[in-house]
Each structure stands twice: as structure tokens, then as C-alpha cells.
């Protein structure tokens, strides 16, 4: 997918020039007003760019110089909006089949698959007004998928839902991408959704792409830090489950290079890949390693300093740990006393208890 578009907006010019891989979920992250919705509206054909081009697999949907600008209904790009936008006069089945072509799906295999995947069977005969917000959004997703789009755009599909509904819908979204070979461009300003869903991530600010890449690298990049609020400064660590503790409800994660991280029990088989968010406030630094008999801290890692970001009161320290990174936030006072320097080796202590269920997510593959 090649995107090279520009559009003058009220406060800035949206200028994008990038390539996005044609598989997996790419999350477009940014503050509200960063141009996220305008971006996907331009891809869908709802908004018209001032100039540029947009193509998927060599097929142009928009090309200002060649005068190509395909109408929305010809683009074969699915769109799940913030609000479900179900048609109130049609029942759920009719809503689902609105863009569906039975000819292209002779034995209704695909139809059944979507119904099953999103568990829509019990809703089919009902009408939109009888559905909860989460159910409506599930129908909207199913409706968009049944159109068999080449690309699915999702504009904060969870933002209108309360937390329980969000948690109800997230696993569906994760499954979706795993079971259907469909690239998804997912717009959000929620870090939790990024953590749970993203394969690739694109940080948008004032109409420009600041960062793009896999979630770990973008998240742990220095430029990302202003988006992770002060008390939320965190790093993403990936690893695989290596063992369960025999006596205590704890799970060990293998972070590579023989480093093991103990976290509260994750009920999944060994080898399962997990992605964990570790808050900077839960990390303390020490120059010498205490033995586990002398401290309550279970996780102590040998790290090296990869970056130092000086603040007015605090210092943010980026730590390299095997092929992962951590962020620590210490006071200027402590920083001066420890005489920390770039590339210096030291120990990071992580409070295992601070990692709870909302902090981990299973990556998609």
C-alpha cells in the first residue's frame, strides 16, 4: 500500500509519504486533531486530497496527475466508523448483507465464517435499536467484512463504548486479523488498543508521520515519549512464556539472552508469545545486585544504558535488556549521585506485582 497524499486543513497541511505492509494491523496513533480520520477518509474516498497518489498492489485509487479519483463505492475499501451507522430500517441480517454478494460466495462459506467469528447468529432477526453498543459495532464490523474489502479502515471503533464493551470487542478484533488475510488500518488515540492490536504502528502529529515501524520500536523510541504521559511512561517488552511457578501463581517469561521476567500468572501454555507494558515508575536502578533472599524484588536485570534524556526534575533512562528496551524515570539527585553514563552497566529492579492482566496482550503472531 503506497500513500503519498497532501491536503490543506484548517490549521496545518496533512502530508504523508509512506508505505504500509499489506498484512496485519497497522495502528495509526495520534492526538485528536492530528489528521488520523482525514487520512483514512482520503483512503476511503470520502475526503479528496489536494494532490498525490494512493495505490494498493499497484492499483491506483487516486492519482492527481493522472486524474484518477475512484468513487467511494468503487474502491472496495471497508470502513468501520466510530459509531456503528447501522441502517435503522433494516434488520441485522439485511444490514450484514447490504454489501455482500452471494454470487461471489456460492456456498455461503465466507458468510458463515464471519457470522461465527463475530458470533452474530443470535442477532440476525433483531433490529439495530435493540442492540447494545458492542453488539452494534460487531455487526458493523461484520457488515464491512462481508463486502470482501481489499483493505479495512477502522476509525476508533471502540471509542464510543464503555470499558466492559471494549474488553468484550477487543478479542474479536484480534481474532479477525489472524483468521482473515486482510490488511487493517486502525485509527486510535488509546495506547491500550495499540498494545493489544498493533503489528505495525504509525505515529501521526500535526499531519506528519513522526514514527513508523513495529510497535516495540515505535513505543520505545524517544520521540514517542511525549505521548506516554509522565506517570504513564512505559516500555513494551516481548517474550515467551517459559515456565509456571510450582508453588506460587507466577509465570516466567523468557526475554532472550537467558533473562527471565517473573510476572503474575498468565494462564497460557509455554512458548506463547506475550507483549508486556512496563511502567517507568515501577523500575528502580541499582549499581550492585542484591540476592533474591535479601529483597522483595523478584526481577533484577543486568542492563546497559542506551539513552539518557535530561528533564528539569527527572531523568529518563532508556535501558537495553537483551533485544528489549526499558524506560526508567529517576530523580536528578539520584542520577547525579549514581554518576550514570551512557553504555554503563547496571541493574534494573522491576516490581513483578505491578504487572497485572491489563498490562499484557498476546501479539497476533
Amino acid at each position: 500500500m503506497k500513500i503519498k497524499l497532501s491536503k490543506q486543513l484548517a490549521e496545518y497541511t496533512l502530508e504523508l509519504d509512506t508505505q504500509i505492509s499489506a498484512t496485519g494491523i497497522c495502528v495509526v496513533f495520534g492526538r485528536s486533531g492530528a489528521g488520523k480520520t482525514t487520512l483514512i477518509n482520503m483512503l476511503a474516498g470520502i475526503d479528496t486530497p489536494d494532490s498525490g497518489s494512493f495505490s494498493i498492489a499497484g492499483r491506483y485509487f487516486y492519482h492527481s496527475q493522472q486524474g484518477i479519483n475512484l468513487a467511494v463505492h468503487r474502491r472496495e475499501i471497508g470502513y468501520v466508523f466510530q459509531q456503528a451507522r447501522l441502517f435503522p430500517h433494516l434488520n441485522i441480517q439485511a444490514n450484514l448483507k447490504y454489501g455482500y454478494s452471494a454470487k461471489q460466495d456460492p456456498d455461503a462459506v465466507f458468510y458463515q465464517k464471519i457470522i461465527q467469528l463475530l458470533q452474530l447468529q443470535p442477532l440476525l432477526k433483531r433490529y439495530p435499536t435493540d442492540l447494545s453498543g458492542g453488539e452494534m459495532q460487531r455487526v458493523a464490523i461484520g457488515r464491512a467484512l462481508l463486502r470482501k474489502p481489499k483493505l479495512l479502515l477502522m476509525d476508533e471503533p471502540l471509542s464510543s463504548l464503555d470499558l466492559p464493551r471494549k474488553l468484550e470487542l477487543l478479542p474479536y478484533l484480534a481474532k479477525l486479523n489472524k483468521q482473515l488475510q486482510l490488511p487493517i488500518l486502525y485509527v486510535t488515540h488509546s495506547l491500550d488498543e495499540v498494545l493489544f492490536l498493533a503489528d505495525e504502528m504509525l505515529l501521526l502529529d500535526q499531519g506528519k508521520i513522526l514514527l513508523q515501524g513495529d510497535v516495540e520500536s515505535v513505543w520505545n523510541d524517544q520521540q514517542m515519549q511525549p505521548w506516554l504521559q509522565q506517570n504513564q511512561l512505559s516500555a513494551i517488552v516481548h517474550g515467551s512464556i517459559s515456565q509456571q511457578h510450582q508453588d506460587y501463581p507466577m509465570t516466567a517469561l523468557d526475554l532472550g539472552a537467558q533473562q527471565q521476567l517473573w510476572v503474575n500468572k498468565i494462564d497460557s501454555p509455554p512458548g506463547t508469545h506475550v507483549r508486556i507494558r512496563i511502567y517507568a515508575k515501577d523500575i528502580s536502578l541499582t549499581l550492585s545486585k542484591a540476592s533474591s533472599a535479601e529483597t522483595s524484588i523478584r526481577n533484577i536485570f543486568d542492563c546497559s544504558i542506551a539513552a539518557i534524556v535530561m528533564g528539569e526534575q527527572n531523568v529518563k533512562i532508556k535501558l537495553a535488556l537483551a533485544d528489549n528496551f526499558l524506560w526508567a524515570d529517576i530523580t536528578l539527585w539520584a542520577f547525579d549521585q549514581l554518576k550514570l553514563q551512557l553504555h554503563q552497566h547496571l541493574y534494573a529492579q522491576i516490581k513483578g506485582v505491578s504487572i497485572n492482566n491489563t498490562d499484557w496482550a498476546l501479539p497476533q503472531h
Binding site: Y79, R85, F87, H89, Y98
Partner: protein, 230 residues
């Protein structure tokens, strides 16, 4: 119960009103859609022209029709020569006069209901591959049925009451153009026919009431069907 004269007037009135409404409905929907969703040069002018019959004296409309559609008028002569249709001094002429006078009422009601349709639903339909015609037929049209209905009833009632334009354009010919209002006018002009005039007056009120009550309940039913709240 009803005299033959009264039955004639009632049937003629209903025939004229039905024809006027069914003939102008497709145009009204199209114009309403243009005014609600269109974005073109000269939209205020179109809006003004559509609303003109609402504010012009009906006799002006009747006079204009007489000039244009009489046998010597430019349109009337053309229609006689090429279509072999002569609408002057006929019930079709009465229907045309009614249609024009009632047109703005119908357009207004439909336009309001189109404006009330959430444009986002139409947008969602187009992302599902529906072309503009399909979007209109499958999304917009079903959602504006209550508006169309109230527009139709309003126009129908206005047609039944049409007097000025009709009598100016097609005159007051018994059995051909003498609708209920025109028949009443004749009775009022005739000394000693006060009772007949009063009977027609009650009939007119009855027809109007039936139409209004019927439209109200039909509209409620339609709204429920669209919103599916029982």
C-alpha cells in the same frame, strides 16, 4: 343520501386531487432531493421558484396557465399538435392547476425529511459498494417515507380545496371542472341554494378530516416501522 350532483362533484374532486398528487410526486421527490442535498449554482433561485405558488395569488397562477396552456397558448398549441392532448377547460387542466398550487407543500415536507436523514448512513452505504442510485433507493427513500406521506396528504388536501387557479384556468363547467369548491361557489351565487351550499361545506370538512386522521395514523405506523420501537 347524497344527490347525484354532489356525488359528481366529490368524484371529480377526488379524481383531480389524486391525479395532481401522483403526477407531481416523482418531481417533488427529485426537487426536494436537489434542494436538500444538491450543491449547485442557482439553488436559491430554484428554491424561490418552487415556493412561488405558495405566495402568489392563485388567480395569477390560473391566468399564467391560461396564457400558456390554452388552445392558442404556446404550450397548449404545441401539445395539441404533437401530443393530441388538449387540457384547456378539462379535468386534466384542473389537475395541473392543483398540482402546481400544491407542489411547494409537497416539496417542503419531503425536503425536511431528507434533511433529517443522517448523511452518515448514506456514506456508510457507499463504503459498502452501493452507487448513488442504490443508496437513494435502499437507504434514503425508506427513511423518508413518513415525510413523503405527510407531503402527499398536505398536497392532496390543498388540491381538494383548490379554487382560484382552477376557476381562472378551466372555468366552472358542470361535470367537467366543477369540483366541490366550485360547486359551492355556484350554489352561493344562486339565490335560495344556501342549504345545498351548507351540505357541500360539511362534505368538504368530512373529506378533509378523514384524510388528516388517516394520514396521522399511517405516519405513526411508518415511523414505528422505521425505528422499530413498539
Amino acid at each position: 343520501m347524497l344527490t347525484e350532483f354532489e356525488i359528481q362533484a366529490i368524484t371529480l374532486s377526488l379524481k383531480v386531487a389524486f391525479s395532481a398528487v401522483s403526477f407531481s410526486l416523482p418531481f417533488a421527490i427529485f426537487i426536494a432531493w436537489l434542494l436538500a442535498r444538491g450543491n449547485f449554482y442557482g439553488k436559491p433561485l430554484l428554491d424561490a421558484i418552487v415556493h412561488l405558488p405558495l405566495v402568489l395569488p392563485p388567480v395569477v397562477i390560473g391566468y399564467l396557465l391560461l396564457i400558456g396552456f390554452s388552445q392558442q397558448g404556446p404550450i397548449g398549441a404545441w401539445m395539441i399538435e404533437y401530443l393530441s392532448i388538449d387540457i384547456s377547460f378539462s379535468w386534466q387542466g384542473a389537475a395541473l392547476a392543483s398540482a402546481i398550487v400544491a407542489f411547494p407543500l409537497m416539496v417542503r415536507a419531503i425536503k425536511l425529511s431528507i434533511e433529517a436523514v443522517d448523511n452518515k448512513l448514506e456514506q456508510a452505504a457507499s463504503t459498502l459498494g452501493a452507487n448513488p442510485v442504490k443508496v437513494f433507493i435502499t437507504i434514503t427513500l425508506p427513511l423518508i417515507v413518513p415525510g413523503i406521506l405527510s407531503g402527499v396528504i398536505l398536497a392532496f388536501a390543498r388540491s381538494l380545496g383548490e379554487f382560484g387557479a382552477t376557476i381562472t384556468f378551466v372555468s366552472n363547467i358542470p361535470e367537467i371542472t366543477r369540483t366541490i369548491p366550485l360547486a359551492m361557489y355556484s350554489f352561493i351565487q344562486t339565490p335560495g341554494a344556501e342549504q345545498q351550499a351548507l351540505r357541500l361545506c360539511l362534505i368538504a370538512i368530512g373529506i378533509a378530516l378523514i384524510a388528516l386522521i388517516g394520514s396521522y395514523s399511517l405516519e405513526q405506523k411508518m415511523r414505528r416501522r422505521i425505528a422499530h420501537r413498539n
